[in-house]
């Protein structure tokens, strides 16, 4: 893959883009911008749902409800993304257009919201794990000192889980970044570099999925696609690696506690 991307890489680094047509560079920028828009909307949607839900399930809910809540919320992970994309296309997009009167049925907002909803289960599950990994003794000690559950969570549990929650958000972000099916079906797929969130957008993975057909092997376009794939690979590996690093460091700190 790196080999396939090499030509484009050299073109970009060597000639400062002089040998590539302007339109192509412009295209890359707007694809990146589209990805940023979709990921940001997705996180804005997913975080305020996943984190409170995880707080409730791990800290507030009685155990007898917890055993039902968590598996049910994780059930969503079993639904294939193509089905979620289908629902976003047939249900969410018309509903959003009716509610907000957007000029296009399919746009970046629909894609962002749909991706956001799609990453909620994963993010919830990871945040819940991070919160549950905080020793319950800390929560209990805080209550024994006269703290309310909220004070115990805010001052003890949350700080202790913060890095794990950060890792969960990074993983959710990585998933949003690479989400292809949903974005492909509901984003409108036009490469528009505008500011409006209600414009159709196209993201990097969608570009990869849509454009490889009819691109001759060895052409500049071909290596450009592989370059983009390479960047996407690097980004998501970096996010994964960062999240894993945080988690390992956390586990090591926990180890000290246990000893």
């Amino acid at each position: 893959m790196a080999l396939e991307a090499m030509p484009a890489l050299f073109v970009r680094l060597g000639g400062l883009g002089t040998s590539t047509p302007i339109s192509s560079r412009w295209n890359l920028i707007s694809l990146g911008w589209g990805s940023v828009k979709v990921v940001m909307i997705a996180l804005t949607v997913a975080i305020p749902i996943a984190i409170p839900a995880a707080l409730y399930v791990s800290q507030v809910a009685p155990v007898r409800w917890r055993v039902w809540l968590k598996p049910t919320l994780e059930l969503m992970q079993g639904v294939p993304t193509v089905v979620l994309a289908f629902l976003a296309l047939w249900v969410l997009a018309p509903a959003l257009q009716r509610a907000f009167g957007a000029p296009f049925l399919l746009n970046g907002m629909v894609a962002g919201v749909a991706v956001g909803l799609a990453i909620v289960p994963v993010m919830f599950s990871l945040v819940e794990d991070a919160l549950s990994a905080v020793p319950r003794e800390w929560f209990r000690s805080a209550l024994a000192l006269g703290a309310t559950p909220w004070e115990a969570v805010r001052r003890v549990v949350w700080p202790a889980a913060a890095s794990g929650i950060g890792a969960a958000v990074l993983l959710g972000m990585s998933q949003a970044l690479g989400e292809t099916m949903i974005v492909m079906m509901v984003s409108g797929n036009a490469t528009l570099p505008g500011w409006s969130l209600w414009d159709p957008v196209r993201t990097v993975p969608v570009e990869l999925a849509l454009e490889w057909v009819g691109t001759a092997r060895g052409s500049q376009r071909y290596s450009e696609l592989f370059l983009m794939g390479f960047v996407l690979l690097g980004l998501s590996m970096a996010l994964q690696g960062l999240a894993r690093m945080i988690r390992i460091r956390n586990a090591r700190q926990r180890g000290e506690v246990a000893s």
Partner: protein, 304 residues
């Protein structure tokens, strides 16, 4: 200052969000399974009566789609599961722990486990088709019509296998590591060799965990579409199922029909049927994994 108030807000707010999420997930899943059910049932009723050729057609389309999906999932499992388990056993038991190479390998596997599927599609295209497939064709010498150097069932399956392999390794290694160290040490203290430890202690104790990881991963690959776009799924094909031929696929069909359906209302029943079957089977995988996991939890409680 009333300290009870923020606490009340905190509990109410998180509770409302969590229960709302719970309700929407439940209604989504049940909705997918129940609302679509009449369409689905009417399809089968019609087919049994053999009255409508359109419904007959739909039934045969559906079985073709299922056949394609089942074959590529099976081929993928044959390639990925043994390799994944072997790699995980190596990483957990044989690889020199702490060595730099092992650490790098583990980081790589964990990193790849979260890489978007579109990358694997591209990788399948760039490696299996452009390199291996084209190479095979060249060896055969007949350059007029590419046989292997084009998208097909085998390449799709192998691409999916590449995609699931790291996930399988991660989940299997985790299952192997959750076998208590004491058991392993006790076996070694009795003079067991490494292979005996693996075969008699690790695998028997970890198999439920391994199996639940495998089922979950295969289930996810079952509903995956994106890599297939690159490597061989097509909307329709006249050819019969063969390793070197493009094929029709259930999940892919949802994408195809879903994006074009407004103009083709006639394909709507088939689309809904596909969605139903896809959701049902995916949830079946998920439920099987959940059942296995609950067995682990129970076993852990027994151990305590």
């Amino acid at each position: 200052m009333n300290r009870g108030f923020p606490d009340w807000i905190f509990r109410r707010l998180t509770g409302v969000v969590a229960w709302a999420l719970f309700a929407s997930v439940l209604s989504l899943v049940l909705g997918l399974l129940l609302v679509v059910v009449p369409v689905f049932l009417s399809g089968w009723d019609g087919q049994e009566g053999g009255s409508s050729p359109a419904l007959d057609h739909r039934g045969s389309r559906l079985s073709l789609l299922l056949l394609g999906t089942a074959t590529r999932t099976l081929l993928m499992s044959l390639a990925a599961i043994p390799a994944g388990i072997l790699t995980a056993v190596y990483l957990a038991e044989y690889a020199p722990s702490g060595a730099r190479a092992t650490r790098i390998l583990r980081w790589l596997v964990h990193g790849l486990a979260g890489v978007p599927s579109v990358i694997f599609g591209l990788l399948g295209l760039g490696f299996w088709i452009s390199v291996v497939g084209v190479g095979l064709d060249r060896m055969a010498g007949d350059s007029a019509a590419p046989v292997w150097g084009r998208p097909g069932l085998l390449w799709a399956s192998l691409t999916l296998a590449m995609m699931t392999l790291p996930v399988l390794v991660v989940s299997t290694e985790q299952a192997l590591r959750s076998v208590p160290q004491e058991l392993r040490l006790a076996a070694m203290a009795l003079g067991a060799t490494r292979l005996q430890v693996v075969m008699r202690i690790l695998l028997p104790n970890a198999w439920v965990g391994i199996a639940s990881g495998v089922v979950l991963t295969v289930g996810r690959a079952f509903g995956e579409v994106v890599p297939l776009l690159f490597t061989g799924a097509v909307a329709e094909t006249q050819r019969s199922l063969a390793l070197d031929e493009p094929f029709v696929d259930l999940a892919h069909q949802v994408f195809v029909l879903g994006t074009r359906s407004p103009e083709h209302p006639s394909s709507r029943p088939l689309l809904l049927t596909c969605v139903w079957v896809l959701v049902f089977l995916s949830l079946l995988f998920h439920a099987a994994a959940a059942v296995l996991r609950s067995r682990i939890l129970r076993a852990e409680q027994d151990r305590l």
